[in-house]
């Protein structure tokens, strides 16, 4: 055990566990089921807030032992440097193994072919992820997806079966009853396990506050040059330069999700602390993906389509 131990405690709520305690206990149970049932799992860690929660849950689940899985990040090469720096620092602090596989390597191999040099690499992560699964022989990948994010996710299992092409078949999912998860797969098949399936964006922020979790700086309000497009703020970066006729403004923004630069937009905000972000989230009028994801606006079923192709 670590040197400093808090006072022994018991839970206080008169009705059993508070909602964060319940969600935490459920997620730990799921992580331990992955460890107990799967021979060679990996935890997908991007440096984003959901996977930061996953890491804390994994610490609680398995300390004082080491985590029974490596961390895996599929890097598009188009991530914000603050997030990549955070990812590396956090993995080093924990003393756990971090595997990074890059979409650029898949492009060099010729397994990812972009339609044009400027096409977003986001959806091509699926190819690189499947290549990493094959390279290391992972039989399960633990991800931070939540059912409240998107309607395709709302119907996905906690233990989601993927065939040897990484495909999700929404019409042919395994029944999932009680907390009896079935992670059995044949060689080459794969389970995607989602311990925080039942968490909402607000739960994630409340957990970050309660646990005092550190986050990459771009989650907090900062000034950034942006262009307003289709109701979203498009950050002006070397990858996404302002086009002729664009009106560039500098506004106070924060990111609600972090991902590939080409498809993640910040929101206008002055919230510079977790407490202020919780306040904003509680009264927000726009969904997380609606406010921030350029990739989900393409069609009503964009996420469903990507998941069928092996996206996490």
């Amino acid at each position: 055990m670590t040197a400093r131990l808090p006072e022994p405690q018991a839970i206080a709520s008169r009705d059993g566990l508070g909602h964060l305690d319940w969600l935490e206990a459920e997620a730990i149970h799921i992580l331990r089921e992955v460890a107990g049932q799967c021979a060679n799992p990996a935890l997908l860690f991007s440096g984003g807030k959901d996977s930061i929660c996953l890491l804390r849950l994994a610490e609680k689940a398995f300390r004082p032992g080491r985590l029974p899985f490596p961390l895996l990040h599929v890097d598009t090469g188009h991530n914000y440097p603050e997030v990549i720096e955070f990812r590396d620092r956090r993995a080093a602090e924990l003393g756990e193994r971090l595997i990074v596989r890059s979409v650029e390597d898949s492009m060099a191999r010729g397994t990812v072919v972009l339609k044009s040099p400027t096409e977003s690499r986001n959806k091509h992560q699926s190819v690189t992820l499947l290549e990493a699964i094959e390279e290391f022989g992972f039989d399960a990948c633990i991800g931070g997806a939540r059912r409240d994010e998107e309607k395709a996710r709302a119907k996905e299992r906690v233990f989601s079966f993927r065939d040897s092409f990484g495909q999700w078949d929404p019409k042919n999912q395994r029944p999932e009853l009680w907390n009896l998860y079935n992670a059995r797969v044949h060689q080459g098949e794969n389970i995607r396990a989602f311990p925080i399936s039942n968490w909402t964006e607000l739960d994630v922020w409340q957990y970050i506050e309660r646990e005092g979790l550190a986050l990459p700086s771009i989650y907090f309000a900062h000034r950034r040059r942006v262009v307003r497009k289709n109701g979203l703020l498009q950050p002006v970066t070397p990858l996404t330069p302002a086009k002729e006729g664009d009106v560039v403004e500098e506004v106070s923004v924060r990111f609600r999700t972090v991902g590939d630069i080409t498809c993640t937009a910040p929101v206008e905000s002055t919230a510079d602390s977790v407490a202020k972000i919780i306040e904003e989230t509680a009264v927000s009028t726009v969904t997380e993906r609606g406010a921030t994801r350029l990739d989900d606006q393409a069609s009503e079923a964009a996420m469903e389509q990507r998941k069928k192709e092996g996206y996490f």
């Binding site: 405690q9 566990l17 907390n179 797969v185």
Partner: protein, 441 residues
């Protein structure tokens, strides 16, 4: 549909003790009963629906020639479902009131009904059964109620919806209420701790979150008040301690010499509670020892209760591995849990491929998996009436009382006494698919 300023304000700072945790419930009924509209109303009136989602359904409603937003569109599902015009699977949805977080399991009404409802009910504390006020108690109302009862749901709420279409008439409601309670008594489901019947109009919002003006004769709680006050699982009566071991932590390679002998048994407390110093028995082997410490990460606990995931350290070095069950006290022969090599259970068959008595299956019970073979089909329950009938075969969506012969013993409780140690799933060894759901009799 009412205007947006109708949204109530919920307090974000709930005083300690007022946090009522988390409640899981399912909604049973078909689209015709207004189930989607009711869920939409709950989400909308508790502010779980945000402007961009609302804007999207307003656009779709307008395209379909409707003058107001159709709240049922909020539960519209997958592209695969829209293409076929059916709902194929259970969807999970979330809202919070600040006092309590809710998880709704929304089971579709028609396709694969038994399978979906059994899945949704398996994790629910409460079931809302929808009745159309114009049509009253129907065979499906009774079927949903019996299934909910069979699945161990503790609280039934019968929502008599579409009161607006019967002129908010009290007599209509009272007749339905009386008929339902009569049925419930006869069907033996009044041993469910609570059955509540509530009139409402999901379309207009009366008695869902707000009382509204039009049901003044009704003095009972609104639907949300019922949800807010329903006790969560394990809260109502003392249950024995059950702790299936998921994983054993042995960090011998650690540089810390103190950890050299560390053996932590990791799992989630499925029922009851445990404190440092308590006697425990390891099943099925039957060895006894005492709890030395309770950990979670770097936290230490004096005691822990149902629902918590923890790590137990025990006084004696005993060979314990994943699949073992730790229970409180010293378990005597013939006591509970029972050590079984034959399981008698209600079995719901979930696969399109019928149960084959010649084949060997896997039974997963808590964290233990054993080989199993069908020994007998005692009787099947008629899917509409749940009356017993003779049968030898078991196909998809059938429910039957069966016996399995097990290749190794399991420590089981009756499902009606303990959902976690009374439930199991059946896995097809060839496809690895989950093909059955069982409840120990």
């Amino acid at each position: 549909m009412s205007a947006i300023e109708h949204i109530p304000e919920f307090e974000n700072d709930v005083p300690p003790g007022e946090n009522r945790g988390l409640l899981r419930f399912l909604t049973c009924g078909s689209v015709d009963d207004g189930k989607s509209t009711l869920i939409g109303r709950l989400l909308y009136d508790t502010k779980a629906i945000l402007a961009d989602t609302l804007h999207a359904i307003e656009k779709t409603s307008a395209r379909r020639g409707l003058t107001a937003a159709d709240l049922s569109l909020l539960t519209d599902g997958l592209q695969a479902e829209r293409e076929q015009g059916i709902t194929i699977d259970v969807a999970y949805r979330y809202f919070t009131t600040g006092r309590r977080k809710y998880i709704i399991a929304d089971a579709p009404g028609h396709e694969q009904y038994t399978r979906n409802m059994v899945t949704a009910a398996s994790t629910a504390d409460l079931a809302i059964i929808l009745v159309d006020a114009r049509r009253g108690v129907l065979p499906q109302t009774k079927r949903h109620s019996k299934l909910a009862h069979m699945m161990g749901i503790e609280h039934l709420v019968v929502a008599v919806n579409k009161m607006d279409l019967v002129g908010y008439d009290e007599a209509t409601f009272r007749n339905i209420e009386a008929e339902y309670l009569h049925f419930a008594t006869r069907a033996g489901i009044t041993d469910i701790p609570s059955v509540t019947v509530v009139p409402l109009s999901a379309v207009n919002g009366d008695m869902v979150v707000e009382r509204g003006e039009r049901l003044g004769w009704y003095e009972g709680p609104t639907l949300l008040e019922i949800l807010e006050s329903a006790p969560v699982a394990h809260a109502e009566h003392a249950e024995p301690f059950r702790f299936p071991v998921q994983y054993v932590c042995r960090p011998q390679q650690s540089t810390d010499p103190k950890l050299h002998d560390y053996r932590g048994y990791m799992g989630r407390i499925e029922s009851g509670e445990i404190a440092v110093g308590d006697d425990v028995t390891i099943l099925p082997a039957g060895r006894t020892t005492r709890v030395e410490a309770i950990h979670l990460g770097c936290q230490l606990f004096e005691r822990a209760v149902a629902g918590q995931s923890v790590t137990l350290l025990l006084e004696d070095e005993i060979d314990i591995s994943r699949g073992d069950l730790i229970v409180a006290g010293k378990v005597s022969h013939g006591g509970t849990p029972r050590i079984a090599t034959e399981l008698r259970a209600d079995l719901c068959w979930l696969s399109e491929t019928p149960l084959d008595p010649r084949r060997t299956y896997l039974v997963r019970h808590t964290t233990r998996t054993v080989k199993a073979k069908l020994a007998a089909v005692h009787h099947r329950f008629d899917i509409h009436t749940l009356e017993r009938q003779q049968a030898a075969q078991l196909g998809v969506n059938d429910i039957a009382e069966v016996s399995f012969r097990l290749a190794a013993p399991l420590a089981v409780d009756a499902y009606e006494r303990n959902r976690a140690t009374g439930a199991f799933i059946v896995i097809d060894e060839t496809t690895n698919n989950t093909v059955g759901a069982g409840m120990v009799v």
